[in-house]
């Protein structure tokens, strides 16, 4: 048995693998004390190899994890579990976005990651949703309803928020602004994909893959050149990848 734990900026994910099958999984908010949260999540299992990934991986390693791997490797392993031939993975988490290229054997061959700001990440969408009065869960669905799209020029979370505020004050419907916010994230993602190169099958993982509008717009943007696919629980992919690494 191997346990993978992904200590992300917003949530902690855990997956348990036995004989190559996922036998359990959990997801909770990171909260103020991610270390205690992780401990709590691990309580119910007996002895097992623990592999940590995500921003808190080194903290976990100091206290309970046997090994650490980066989110990049973890998502690559997780993606291959569900889609054994995939060569391109897009992962958008709370704090960063990544495009990962894999070789034939599934090893990471190159990757792109956003710079230090929150532009184009889950956090960006969360702040914009709050500014427009949507819950994060409804934000994507609301944006999908819009027929007309406005352009958000700024990719900086702070500046984009003031841009959104001025749009609201011009009387632009919130769903249209929401659509614009999604569009700006997709544009940035598409640029990262073009830079790195991509296969015709793109696995979309991370919490933001739950947002229906991002996947839809990215598919529209790439057209026939690629097909966007997602596993059933895209936010668990890192934890699953870590567990797979542990069970090797």
């Amino acid at each position: 048995m191997a346990i993978g734990i992904d200590l992300g900026s917003r949530t902690i994910k855990l997956a348990v693998i036995r004989d190559g099958e996922i036998v359990d999984q959990q997801l909770t908010e990171s909260g103020f004390d991610p270390y205690s949260q992780a401990r709590e999540m691990l309580k119910r299992y007996g002895a097992a190899k623990i592999v940590a990934t995500g921003y808190g991986r080194h903290l976990a390693h100091e206290h309970f994890a046997d090994e650490v791997i980066t989110e990049i490797k973890a998502h690559a392993l997780g993606a291959r579990y569900f889609f054994p031939f995939c060569r391109t993975v897009v992962d958008i988490g709370g704090q960063d976005s990544k495009v990962i290229g894999l070789d034939k054997k599934g090893r990471v061959s190159n990757f792109q990651m956003n710079d230090k700001c929150a532009a184009g990440t889950g956090r960006f969408l969360e702040i914009m949703a709050a500014s427009l009065g949507f819950s994060l869960n409804d934000f994507g669905a609301a944006a999908l309803k819009s027929k007309t799209e406005v352009m958000i020029n700024s990719m900086c979370t702070v500046f984009a928020e003031s841009e959104v505020i001025s749009m609201k004050n011009r009387g632009i419907p919130t769903v249209d602004i929401a659509r614009g916010v999604h569009h700006s994230v997709v544009n940035r993602l598409a640029a990262m994909l073009e830079r790195l190169g991509y296969d015709e099958e793109i696995v979309f993982s991370g919490g933001v893959a739950r947002n229906p509008c991002i996947g839809h717009m990215l598919q529209k943007c790439l057209g026939e050149r690629a097909r966007i696919i997602s596993p059933p629980d895209p936010d668990l992919m890192g934890a699953i990848g870590a567990a797979l690494h542990g069970s090797r």
Binding site: Y55, T70, I72, K73, Q95, D96, V108, F111, D115, K116
Partner: protein, 431 residues
């Protein structure tokens, strides 16, 4: 390990005499000592001969300043520079001191941002801030600063820096045609005249020949160090080697060359015995790109903390400074200046267009250093390195060299992201 905690020595009286902001500077001094202790003295398997370079850091704000003040007393010029294009041989020939000024700390950036725009190169801001805040003793002892035109941020900052310290500018050509070389030769002659003006005497042919030989010795010692790093396992850490390359810009050249050679003797013994600072499984990384000015150890620290060993710096504070030496066979002043100009024209800074020889040089150093991957480092807003990065990346793709490009500044706020990227890069090499 070391019972006494490392400290950078304090000379408050002398600093006051230099017109420094002593209270603030003393805090920076303490911080430097703490960081140095943590990053450098905690390393295992360190060569014994690093003791000299530790002492150079301990006396960075004191002992070395005293030596420079002594030279200054004898009416010799003390010149501050920011670029490997300024021909230090000419200053040395006049009996003077050439100092590469600091610009590698986030601590002085708020001082600069009181005047300069925020969105420019952190190295330029840091350097300007050191003078504006009066928190660098080297800046306080120089007679004048020699700037150059390698980038727009520097070029325009010199105009403002001139208000605080006399700042002259050499025009660096941006292409390498015959007429550009002719321009550069004229600039070298002007520089020589300026230095002679300060000392009130002419530089003789013998003096220049001696200075050329001396600085060649310094560059050759650094070349030797680089060659030793190519051994597996690496006999010295990348952090220590980078530190030596940084100290090369403010130490007395004769002594420095001797000390680097002593260290190299020790490293050669290590190589012979198969000893190194990292196990043979440690990924060997070459760093290429913008200079890392003292005390900028950010990337090397992240790489080596993640288990890699840095084996080469293709950078101005690195091989670009010492890969070429000046032909010593020039007799007349004209011949010597021509040889000097030829050597300086071989510098492959990204400010030139085209600059394809740098791509070749990166690949050559990759092979020579037996590295397993290249990390390209670009400071934020350094357009020339940032754009030239595309050609380096394409060359690495062609040659199937594992490659990671990082753009960052001096702040610690992106440490988490950088750590993830660097660790993923090392995983990629290891898998």
């Amino acid at each position: 390990m070391n019972s006494k905690k490392f400290e950078v020595a304090a000379y408050p009286k002398m600093w006051e005499g230099l017109g420094m902001d002593v209270a603030r500077f003393d805090k920076a001094r303490q911080m430097l000592g703490e960081v140095y202790d943590k990053l450098f003295l905690s390393q295992t398997e360190r060569p014994r001969k690093m003791a000299y370079f530790d002492a150079m850091i301990a006396e960075i704000f004191g002992g070395r300043i005293k030596e420079i003040l002594a030279v200054k007393k004898s009416a010799k010029p003390v010149v501050g520079t920011f670029c490997v294009y300024i021909p230090e041989e000419i200053v040395v020939a006049a009996g003077g001191v050439c100092i590469g000024l600091c610009g590698g700390s986030p601590g002085s950036i708020p001082d600069a941002e009181k005047i300069l725009p925020r969105n420019i190169c952190p190295m330029v801001k840091s350097a300007y801030g050191f003078k504006a805040g009066r928190i660098c003793p080297y800046f306080q002892v120089v007679d004048f600063v020699y700037g150059e035109t390698t980038c727009d941020a520097k070029k325009k900052t010199w105009e403002l820096l001139d208000r605080l310290v006399p700042t002259h500018v050499m025009e660096i050509p941006q292409m390498k045609r015959a007429r550009d070389r002719a321009l550069w030769l004229e600039e070298v002659k002007d520089f020589k005249a300026k230095v002679e003006d300060i000392c009130g005497s002419e530089i003789s042919e013998d003096n220049l020949a001696g200075a050329i030989r001396l600085i060649n010795r310094k560059r050759l010692a650094l070349q030797r160090l680089t060659k030793l790093r190519a051994n597996i396992p690496a006999p010295i850490s990348g952090k220590d080697a980078l530190l030596i390359e940084q100290i090369a810009f403010y130490d007395e050249p004769e002594r420095f060359a001797a000390k680097v050679n002593e260290l190299c003797d020790e490293l050669a013994e290590r190589v012979e015995a198969g000893r190194g600072v990292a196990g043979p499984e440690s990924p060997r990384i070459m760093v290429s790109g913008t200079p890392m000015a003292l005390p900028n150890w950010k990337i090397h620290n992240l790489l080596e903390s993640a288990g890699a060993v840095v084996v080469n710096e293709e950078s101005c504070i690195g091989t670009r400074y010492f890969k070429d030496v000046i032909d010593e066979n020039g007799g007349s002043m004209a011949e010597q200046l021509a040889n000097l100009t030829d050597r300086y024209m071989r510098i492959d800074c990204s400010c030139f267009t085209p600059n394809d020889e740098r791509v070749e040089q990166v690949l050559r150093e990759y092979r020579q250093s037996k590295a397993q991957g290249i990390l390209h480092y670009s400071l934020q807003f350094c357009h020339t390195y940032n754009i030239e990065e595309i050609k380096i990346r394409e060359a690495c793709e062609r040659e199937a060299i594992p490659y990671l490009s990082i753009e960052t500044d001096y702040s610690a706020e992106d440490t988490g992201q950088l750590q993830t990227r660097i660790e993923a890069f090392l995983e990629q090499i290891g898998d």
